[in-house]
């Protein structure tokens, strides 16, 4: 440490002691300071009032809160921070002449009289914001406490008491919340090893877990429980089944093996509330407090489906909105990427040597890559036409290949699905294999194809950031494409061709269609979900764990190459989003799926934690929390319509199966909502009808457009203002520099003059001395 710093430290600590003094001292350069400083104009610039904004800002903040005691705190604080604590008398005299800031603090404190219990309390709560050491804070608090305060009267007193109690209550609440908060320790542990970006992923899993839990509660409370509670069926299959439902019900009870039926979702499970087929199209009546009440189960079923989609959408948008807003702010040409990296780059929560080292390295490479991007950008600008064409051609080629791979995998899924459906083996194991074949095919493609994409990406010469984004987008497409192919193959199975219309059997009005096709679809999704989860487990605990084990214990370059893995955030995020998409689609067909996906997310947290902490080493990529969260939400928003579309189609177009489910007798499910609407009072009907007339919609449309116009013009005006202000700031800065230079020149001149005068005097002295000697 240099001597200068030591000296400064000494003056600082002096400042703390002096802080007790009653006098106000402005941070104003003393003469001695200037003498020291005139060599270095930068130092002088730091003494300008505008550079003392912290203290001033704090003053303003507290002053507006009309607290006189705090003001004295800040006064002290300002004094602490001021560089010139000497010459207090001169400074004091001067103080009255400088800016309003000082004058305010010189004024007699009128607010002294206004102090009451409430303001005192507020003051105490404000103390913690001040950057002063604890013993000072305590002193402040003691001072406020010891002063006389007006007691609040009547309603005021009540209000204040309530406020205080509320504050106590909230701290209690947060305290107990921290105690029961799920995975708190795990999150901290992961954060310590991998930083905030990866923790954002685990928070995302947690968020999904809670989302699914609430979906489960909704479905459980409004659909499963009532259906179970009002269940009054008594079907005796010995007799000739009379209705379609009974036929269907008696048919499924024949299966036997419990384990098989659990993994397939067939057999005994099929006739439980877990699947669509269980629910009846009955309006249950019951008596509550001697009044007859009705529970319209079909209506509840459809409404809950809609509600849970709505709830999910709101949850996504709410969580994502913050990230998107940040994106927008950053996108306005105002890139703070360097500052963000430098000042927000280090995760202060990292607590072990190894991760710290990796973080250092990651930050280093990130800085390097930022510089590299800049260089690449320069290079790109100076690229020759020929090179540009070459890269364009290469990218075109790669994109074609990617598209081809996507189409191929889509076809593969489709054919495998058809193939597996054509085989009706008698051997149980073989049948099981064929049933799971499509799911396994989808999962296998999901695992292998991203590697191909990764490989192709290296030929495209994108910048690292774009690379990650491209890989993510393509993988999302793959996942969703496989899902869409799955829909199509399902649709071809349940579609009712006019040729296949079977009039001889009133119950299943289509040939080749399963008796209860909704349950059938539910079972497929159920299987898909199970397979996906099993493969996740298998890959994490068997394959990747062995790889990591090999890489760790065998010091061989080959094993290191195949064994070492980094925690690839986008891939894991996709795994999770995929499960959520399946859940959204599946809940309609099998309410059990919401429970299942909650459980899966719960277990998946630990699986991913294992994958993260045991299998992989910290990634060289810097994942930032804000970026990751908005990425997750973007992927969620992307897959949301893919989940919503088939449900919308089924509700509006497809005829529900007539032998099972709450909508057995209806043509389409939507007609139920229509019927319910017709049953509502005419007033409501008229109102809704009015909402859709042009008389209402056209004015609404115009108003919305006007509002949009208004906001865009305000926005552009603000943006213009920002640029103007920025220019003004720069100009002010130049003015300031100019003035400081002039001031320094002046000081220098003065000093020179004084020195010359002194020399002159000295000369005079020597002359007089000489003359006296002579005389």
């Amino acid at each position: 440490m240099s001597g200068g710093e030591k000296k400064k430290k000494a003056t600082r600590s002096q400042g703390w002691e002096e802080a007790g003094s009653e006098f106000y001292q402005e941070n104003y350069p003393g003469d001695r300071d200037i003498e020291v400083l005139w060599k270095d104009p930068k130092r002088l610039a730091t003494l300008l009032p505008s550079k003392q904004t912290r203290a001033v800002a704090a003053t303003i903040r507290l002053r507006t809160n009309d607290t006189r005691t705090n003001k004295s705190t800040v006064r002290r604080y300002t004094a602490n921070r001021s560089r010139s604590r000497r010459d207090s008398a001169t400074v004091q005299r001067r103080a009255s002449t400088i800016g309003g800031e000082v004058q305010v603090s010189m004024l007699p404190d009128l607010s002294e009289m206004r102090s009451n219990e409430e303001t005192a309390w507020d003051e105490i709560m404000k103390i913690k914001e001040l950057p002063i050491p604890m013993w000072k804070k305590r002193e402040e608090k003691a001072k406020i406490m010891s002063e006389q305060h007006l007691r609040l009267q009547g309603f005021e007193q009540f209000k204040w008491k309530r406020k205080k109690a509320w504050q106590h209550f909230t701290t209690r609440l947060t305290e107990s919340y921290h105690k029961i908060e799920l995975w708190r320790r795990d999150l901290k542990h992961i954060e310590g090893h991998f930083g905030t970006g990866v923790v954002a992923f685990f928070r995302f899993i947690k968020w999904l877990f809670f989302l699914n839990l609430s979906i489960t509660l909704l479905v459980g409370a409004f659909v499963v429980f009532p259906a179970f509670y009002f269940d009054d069926r008594s079907i005796n299959c010995e007799l000739q089944p009379s209705t379609c439902y009974k036929q269907y019900y008696c048919n499924i009870n024949s299966s036997s093996n419990l384990a098989l039926s659990i993994i397939q979702g067939t057999g005994q499970l099929e006739s439980t509330p877990l699947f669509y087929g269980y629910y009846q199209n009955k309006i249950h009546s019951y008596t509550l407090f001697n009044t007859n009440m009705y529970y319209n189960l079909p209506l509840a079923y459809i409404l809950i489906t809609l509600v849970l989609f709505l709830v999910s959408l709101i949850a996504i948008v709410r969580t994502g909105a913050k990230g998107f807003r940040e994106r927008l702010v950053q996108g306005e040409g105002q890139f703070y990427q360097y500052s963000n990296l430098i000042f927000g780059g280090w995760d202060f929560c990292i607590h072990n040597e190894k991760s710290a080292r990796i973080k250092h390295k990651a930050l280093h490479s990130e800085l390097k890559s930022l510089l590299e991007i800049e260089r690449l950008e320069d290079e790109r600008q100076s690229r020759t036409k020929q090179e540009r064409w070459r890269i364009f051609f290469l990218r075109f080629l790669v994109n074609t290949i990617v598209l081809a791979v996507l189409v191929l995998s889509g076809c593969a899924i489709y054919f495998v699905f058809r193939y597996s459906n054509q085989h009706t083996e008698t051997n149980k194991m073989l049948r099981l294999f064929y049933e799971f074949l499509p799911s396994m095919c989808i999962v296998a493609l999901n695992i292998t194809v991203p590697f191909i994409f990764q490989f192709l990406l290296s030929y495209e010469h994108y910048s690292p950031l774009v690379q990650i984004r491209m890989a993510l987008i393509r993988t999302v497409f793959l996942r969703l494409a496989s899902l869409i192919v799955f829909y199509f193959s399902m649709y071809s199975k349940i579609r009712c061709d006019s040729g296949g219309l079977n009039t001889s059997n009133e119950c299943s009005n289509c040939a080749g269609r399963p008796d209860c096709w909704e349950t059938f679809v539910g079972q497929q999704i159920y299987k898909l979900l199970l397979t996906d989860f099993a493969i996740q487990l298998g890959i994490t605990f068997l394959v990747n764990f062995c790889r990591a084990f090999l890489a760790r214990h065998i010091n061989n370059r080959f094993f290191k190459f195949i064994g070492e893995q980094s925690f690839d955030l986008p891939k894991h995020a996709l795994d999770v989003v995929y499960i959520q998409t399946l859940c959204w689609v599946g809940v309609f067909f099998a309410p059990i799926i919401s429970v299942m996906s909650s459980l899966i997310f719960f277990v998946l947290f630990y699986v991913k934690k294992f994958a993260c902490l045991v299998n992989s080493k910290p990634s060289g990529n810097v994942y930032r929390a804000s970026k990751s969260t908005s990425m997750f939400m973007a992927v969620m928003l992307f897959s949301y319509p893919v989940a919503l579309a088939p449900i919308a189609l089924i509700i509006s177009e497809i005829r529900p199966s007539s032998s099972c489910g709450p909508f057995q007798t209806l043509d389409t499910i939507w007609s139920l909502i229509n019927n319910t609407f017709i049953d509502t009072p005419t007033l409501v009907q008229n109102f809704v009808n009015f909402l859709v007339t042009p008389a209402f919609t056209i004015p609404l449309f115009i108003i919305l457009i006007l509002l949009l116009y208004y906001y865009t013009s305000v926005n552009s005006a603000n943006r213009h203002m920002v640029t103007v202000l920025k220019n003004q700031l720069v100009l002010e800065g130049h003015d300031k520099k100019f003035l400081i230079d002039r001031l320094l020149m002046f000081i220098k001149q003065e000093n020179d003059k004084r020195a010359r005068l002194a020399n002159h005097m000295m000369d005079g002295d020597t002359i007089t001395n000489a003359s006296s000697i002579q005389s």
Partner: protein, 184 residues
Amino acid sequence: MGQANSQLTNEELQDYQDLTYFTKKEVLFAHQKFKTLAPEKVGHNKNAKLPMAKILLYPELSVNPFGERICKVFSSSQDGDCTFEDFLDMMSVFSESAPKSVKAEHAFRIFDFDGDDMLGVSDLKQVIQKLTGENKISENDLNILVQNILEEADLDDDGALSFAEFEHIIDRSSDFLSSFRIRL
């Protein structure tokens, strides 16, 4: 962490709760953590002043490139030695419930190596060097980086970041709040 065997009195706890962003329980927990740094010394005197080397044993601080700066900023004697109260101040600022403005204030002081209330070129260079650790960055790159930061954030074009400018960055920085945090 029972209140019975705690070294802190009830009034102290109340004070700490009012003056930090912690609840009483968390204060007790913080004291326990403080005690583990030097069990003997703190056992004798709950407010013992621990030398900086001891404070730096705290895991998050030990690997933090700014560990020493943090200690110095929060030390009431300015030399990096911390009492429990200083430690509590530190943890309170780094806690989740501390607002952005308070965090920004202290972050500025931490990054301000030469203590002149401005983040000048030398401060920024030091910050970058501390961030990258052993991985050296060339002088030329360093200069470019500093230049880029100043270009982004130095609004009045005077070659250094004042607190107002720093606060402006922090407002725009999406990661600062989540990264400038130490869980107790």
